[in-house]
C-alpha cells in the first residue's frame, strides 16, 4: 500500500492562520481583499492578452474548415 506523508501539523497551522486572519481589524482585512482584487484584475488582464491570439487561431481554423 502506498504511504502518504502526515499533514496533520500542516493543516493545524493552516487552521491557525485562518483564525489569526479572522482576528485582524476590519481595515486590515479590507486591505488584504483590496490586494487580492488588484491581483485578480492583473491576472484577468494578462489572461485576455494570452487568449486573443488563440481566439484568432480558432476563427482561422473554422474558416479554413468551412
Amino acid at each position: 500500500m502506498k504511504k502518504y506523508p502526515d499533514v496533520t501539523e500542516l493543516l493545524r497551522q493552516k487552521a491557525e492562520r485562518r483564525k489569526r486572519l479572522a482576528q485582524l481589524s476590519f481595515e486590515e482585512k479590507i486591505a488584504i481583499v483590496n490586494k487580492w482584487r488588484k491581483l485578480t484584475r492583473n491576472i484577468r488582464k494578462s489572461q485576455s492578452v494570452l487568449e486573443k491570439p488563440q481566439l484568432t487561431r480558432w476563427t482561422e481554423l473554422e474558416r479554413s474548415s468551412s
Binding site: K19, A22, F26, I30, R37, T40
Partner: protein, 158 residues
C-alpha cells in the same frame, strides 16, 4: 447620504459584512441594503441615489456605482428579514468613517435564506470562527421560518 436625506438608513451586507466577522474572502463588490422611502418600483427606486452619487463625481459601473475603486451595489430591502437586519445593524468604524454592518446572526439567516452553495460554505465559516450567538440565531431563524433549512445544512456539515 443619510444626512442628506437620500436614504433613511442603510447597512452593509454580503461578503464585505462577512469579512467583518470571519477571515478575509475574495469579493468584487460591496452590497449596501437600504429601505425604500416611497412605493416606487423598478429602477425608479435607485434614481435619486444615482443622481446624488453622480453629482458627487461617482460613475455607474453596470448595476453598481464605483466608489473609491469599489463597485457598490445598492439593494432595496425586499423582505422582512433584511428589514430587521438593516434596522439592527451595528455601527462600526472604518478608518475615520462610521458605518453600519449587519450583525453576524442576521448575515447567517440571510445566507440560509439565499441558499446558494457559496452561502452555505460561508455559514460554515461563521460557525467555525465562533462568531455567532447560537441562541440569538435560532430565535431569528424561528421567526423567519428558516429552522428546517438550518437543520438540513447541519446534517450536511456533519
Amino acid at each position: 447620504m443619510v444626512k442628506d436625506g437620500v436614504i433613511e438608513q442603510y447597512a452593509i451586507g454580503g461578503a464585505v459584512a462577512a469579512i467583518f466577522y470571519i477571515e478575509p474572502i475574495n469579493t468584487n463588490d460591496l452590497d449596501v441594503f437600504f429601505p425604500v422611502k416611497h412605493s416606487s418600483t423598478g429602477l425608479d427606486i435607485l434614481a435619486p441615489l444615482y443622481e446624488y452619487l453622480s453629482a458627487s463625481g461617482y460613475k455607474a459601473q453596470g448595476e453598481a456605482i464605483d466608489i473609491e475603486g469599489w463597485p457598490v451595489q445598492f439593494l432595496p430591502i425586499f423582505n422582512p428579514l433584511l428589514e430587521e437586519a438593516v434596522a439592527q445593524a451595528k455601527e462600526v468604524r472604518f478608518q475615520r468613517t462610521r458605518t453600519r454592518v449587519m450583525q453576524a446572526e442576521h448575515l447567517v439567516a440571510i445566507m440560509l435564506q439565499t441558499g446558494r452553495l457559496k452561502d452555505h460554505a460561508r455559514v460554515a465559516q461563521f460557525i467555525e470562527h465562533e462568531v455567532v450567538d447560537q441562541g440569538r440565531l435560532l430565535e431569528i431563524l424561528g421567526r423567519y421560518g428558516l429552522i428546517k433549512k438550518w437543520d438540513a445544512l447541519n446534517q450536511k456539515m456533519r
